[in-house]
Symmetry: D2
Subunit: 369 residues, 4 copies
């Protein structure tokens, strides 16, 4: 099969997530990166493009969108991996020209931008895919299936947390700086950067929708303008309740995303740092350890696994699963299927951030999303 | 050293916690159980006393308190291990007669009872000790010392949770029945039975006081009159924030009490089900595993350990540590020292329960304790 | 029930295992320690006896055996917790007077002593019980039952290891000194002190008998006269094969006894440092975690458990299980039942040591036990 | 940088390791797969090549070697991923034509083949790289550096094991069939397929050479012609001792490669199934957990890591590290550097297998390699 021609906006030198997208796009051989506007600094954009051996480098995403749309062999899809405040305009530029967009999360830095982008995305002749990459883990797919098939009964309690410690002190590098700058990151700090992942994952696995939340946000580091720790209580439609904790000052935590779901007949637990395991307990039975590609792995998990049990897959493989599913969607466009997060999940995430901020400012009053 | 003569109220056949108290009292040889009013049913009380080989059995705690106080060789101390609603009257009966009281938690089933008992305890010529037994774990003692000595800097975030699943369905045994009956248990279900432990432990380890809380309580099982799951956000004096989750419907959880404390310079994590380990991280350093009696164990931990590292101690040893410390307090009465939980912690626990109930009824408004 | 009157030989100040025996004897209330010859130094013996509040203290075990046998209220049983070279003479002194013996392992320091003791024990009117305490763990009882009931099919492979690090450097305390002195410890160092436990446990759980072994023993610390690390290959009657590793120089290992048994249809794994869990896998099924007192706990495990799942029991509880079973055996003597290790296991253990030494000296030739 | 043109021998439909090599070669973008002789069945070779979109497909490796060597734009390197018995002839065909070889392990199915291949490889104008892929894990690189830098002192004990359970019953698929056929796999079953990995890793990390071994091999499954479980004692040059256990019938084990190294001053432990962690203990200090890209990660580990701590990398990333290092070697050929396993490690591995077989046949006599 001919690889899909991919462009990239952002992701120049020193970027973290751009490199991840490139590996993910390459892993299963479905994409070929051919063009980019890799930095907001044109010089750096060119250097980065040279290093990566791109065929075409642009000074900015507008030029890129226009030019690629006019090329016969122009890109089929673009990955947007800039800081958050650029997402909306960049995505719109490509969507309006019929180029599929694969965008990093959170959707945008403001709710206004999100709504503007939603409008375009809904009417565009192109896909909008949001890389809530943790949904790509095989055991998360199995967790979702376990809940959907009723194996844990009616969901009652959802505990989700995402703890890091890299912002324990004032930001001292590029990654930390833009993520703690409300103009580039948005109103949420930890809530936007990692809380949105946790929020998305809880809904992805349970199939439930959060109706309202009560939040208490904190900024523990002096002069930090966004939250670096957040406590959030959740109410789901249908009666389930939950708690979400996200923190970037939890010393000793690297990337500790953890999800636990308890129902009337069973419970499941999963941790991102050891993602090949899913703990499942049917009430009254011993806990069992389901492993990726292992004896108890479901079809849903096996479809997104590459290698046998005991040969650990990790973050990059999960991320690559989204790219591979994106390739499938692009090749069969406009037919719809699959579970890829998109524009609705994006808007939902931005609403999560703004609702957290509103609730916290309002003394943790319950606020609807 | 002559053993201290101990009596017991409650703890007859089929009781869980009474048997635990007896083993704990016996383990280090400081107590001899000689008298009891082991059941509210006189016949059962006598049978239970016979089985245990008690010297004196009583039909009720009033008779027992009066009689023992008048005996030259009467009991020095009494363990009260009844359902919660009996605690206050029983404790008062003994305290007023100068007999030391070792009482199970929560202090009482109502705030009124708690306040009445506090008054008596403060004026009594006898000790009042509350068995928040999880404070007896060696690595909890070390955790407390780590925080107190500033090794994690200023405390920012406290995550405490206590999850069980034994009340996932309607109660079907004696233990479950009284614990879900508000008349015997009090207004709190999971909050009273296990939430008070979590709440106490968070404060014990951090040395901080919870100032206010915002709670969302649930009763997932039909017709249950008390909470079986609770989500609580915490604000500590001095600015630290926290979350407390307690649940008795978290399928797959046995007795999963877990405490995590994060400060400006370090973090600690501890789990009751594997209590011989304490995870400590100084910011910017690898995580280390402190083990009971091991290379990094502190004096505070070693003082309450019996055997070498790698020879696991458990729940009963931690419980026995409180009894051994109680023996020391009784023998040196009225001099004061040590960290044993007492009447203040008991009142604080009851306030935790009632404040949770009040906040939850008030749409999770922040309420002062 | 009246407590059994217990005496103790060894176990004075600074001893480790004597204190463990006392707690174990006390935990379930079946024994009362009344007499002792607690040290080979009479002065120290008396001081230790005073500290423990013993009724009768003796200068040596001979006097004690004679005197107690003549007392109407003399001891029913004696715990022998001296260094290994004293076991035989002490045990014989009591057995010949009809006093039950509870003896620490290994049985003796020489094979000659062992055979001499066996002869006496077989003809005595008293029990001989050997505290291979790891057999007292509930999940070890369940493991044994799982194998016996055929749940893992025919046993093929047995991996057992016991790693410590406290003798990484030259011995610097009393515990280390006698254990590395062949005159007091016997020809085996790590093989005698901990290898015998591992060897016993492998056979206890599988129900199989080791037929021959091939050993490579080492003494890594300069001037050490006994092994501090041993590699042993095992052949069981019936065709199963195994490996045993014991080490007292494995830096980072505290008391890491671990047993794994694999059969034609399943496998089990257990670690002493987290003894409340047993991992069980039926071939082709997910691994399950069996927990003490938990949903999958067997009758065999529950019979030797005291408290609910999630409330960890440890080393002392397992040790106490042997004492409680000893009490049952003593009270129903001479009727036989139960699984308590005794004189046969003791002789087998000494043969393990001497066979290891012989094989290692013979360039690891396979040697029959 | 222009990708290196890669060919592949073996790895057609249904193959496991061929697909792994392809992902590994693709992950970091250094290789482009352009040609192949993907199956010994020409028809299947063509179909597989079509599926993968190869430019050139051959019926057999001889034709491929000849043709590619004559093409101006022919392959620079070839990956050999056939069953073991084909390795030697295939590798020789390419090496003799100056095409670099990246070959799966074990080197060959017989010692004769191995020696023949060594001779060619030593004189060839091309690299020979052996994919002992577990050496590619970042924390293995750090473990190697820890030992080399003396942080654990002098190495005393090496425990390595590699347990699987997929051959618990008679082989029922292609992967199992050739691996249990001595004509295709060689004289070793589990020793060849996974024991060689364990053996290599122990030496890679310690920097030590195994001098002699004593082995006891078993075939537990009826009619199996090669070992499916092996117990091996090891003696290293310089005095260290070790144990190696490999098994393909250890029910409940997926791909449980585990290495532990103990020295006079410290110890390290690592498990392949959770490869992002390395446990390190300095004698007399608490154990610490070193994590990939984490606070304690060394330069050696960071050089082969792609993403931040807590974002798990796995088997494919470790495998890709070898490919990326191979690319570097190819681009700088013939200058030498790095730690890539090659022909010497290959020969050593085959000697491991044959020496195990010889020792086992000789009643586990110690045999030199």
């Amino acid at each position: 099969m001919t690889p899909i021609k991919l462009g990239m906006v952002g992701g120049g030198k020193d970027a973290f997530i751009g490199a991840v997208h490139r590996i993910a796009a390459r892993m299963d051989g479905h994409f070929e990166l051919v063009a980019g506007a890799l930095s907001s600094t044109p010089e750096k954009a060119r250097e980065s493009a040279d290093e990566l051996g791109l065929l075409r480098s642009y000074d900015n995403f507008s030029d890129m969108a226009t030019a690629e749309a006019n090329l016969e062999e122009g890109i089929d899809a673009v990955a947007i991996v800039t800081p958050n405040h650029v997402h909306a305009d960049a995505a719109i530029a490509f969507l309006e020209r019929g180029i599929h967009v694969i965008c990093d999360k959170p959707l945008t830095s403001t709710l206004e931008d999100a709504e503007r982008l939603v409008k375009v995305a809904k009417e565009a002749n192109a896909l909008f895919i949001l890389t809530h990459n943790y949904t790509g883990y095989p055991m998360i797919r199995q967790a979702r299936e376990i809940v959907a098939s009723g194996q844990i009964g009616e969901v009652r309690v959802v505990q989700v947390e995402y703890a890091q410690d890299w912002l324990t002190e004032a930001a001292s590098n590029k990654q930390g700086e833009w993520r703690t700058d409300p103009l580039r990151s948005g109103a949420g700090g930890s809530t936007g950067d990692i809380g949105t992942h946790a929020f998305n994952l809880a809904q992805f696995v349970t199939g439930l929708t959060v109706e309202s939340l009560s939040a208490d946000l904190q900024s523990f580091v002096a002069n930090r303008e966004v939250d670096d720790n957040a406590h959030v209580m959740l109410r789901f439609k249908g009666g389930a309740r939950g708690m979400l904790w996200c923190s970037q000052v939890a010393v000793g935590s690297e990337n500790a995303l953890k999800l636990r779901v308890y129902g009337s007949q069973g419970g499941i637990e999963w941790e991102q740092e050891n993602p090949n395991y899913l703990y499942f307990t049917a009430f009254g039975k011993p806990r069992s350890i389901l492993t990726r590609s292992g004896a108890g792995a479901s079809d849903e998990a096996n479809e997104v696994s590459r290698i046998p049990a005991g040969h650990p897959e990790g973050y990059l493989e999960a991320f690559a699963n989204l790219y591979t599913e994106a390739a499938e969607r692009i090749r069969t466009y406009p037919s719809k299927n699959g579970v890829l997060p998109g524009i609705d999940e994006g808007l939902n995430g931005v609403r999560f951030i703004t609702t957290c901020v509103r609730s916290s400012a309002n003394d943790s009053a319950w606020e609807s999303l």
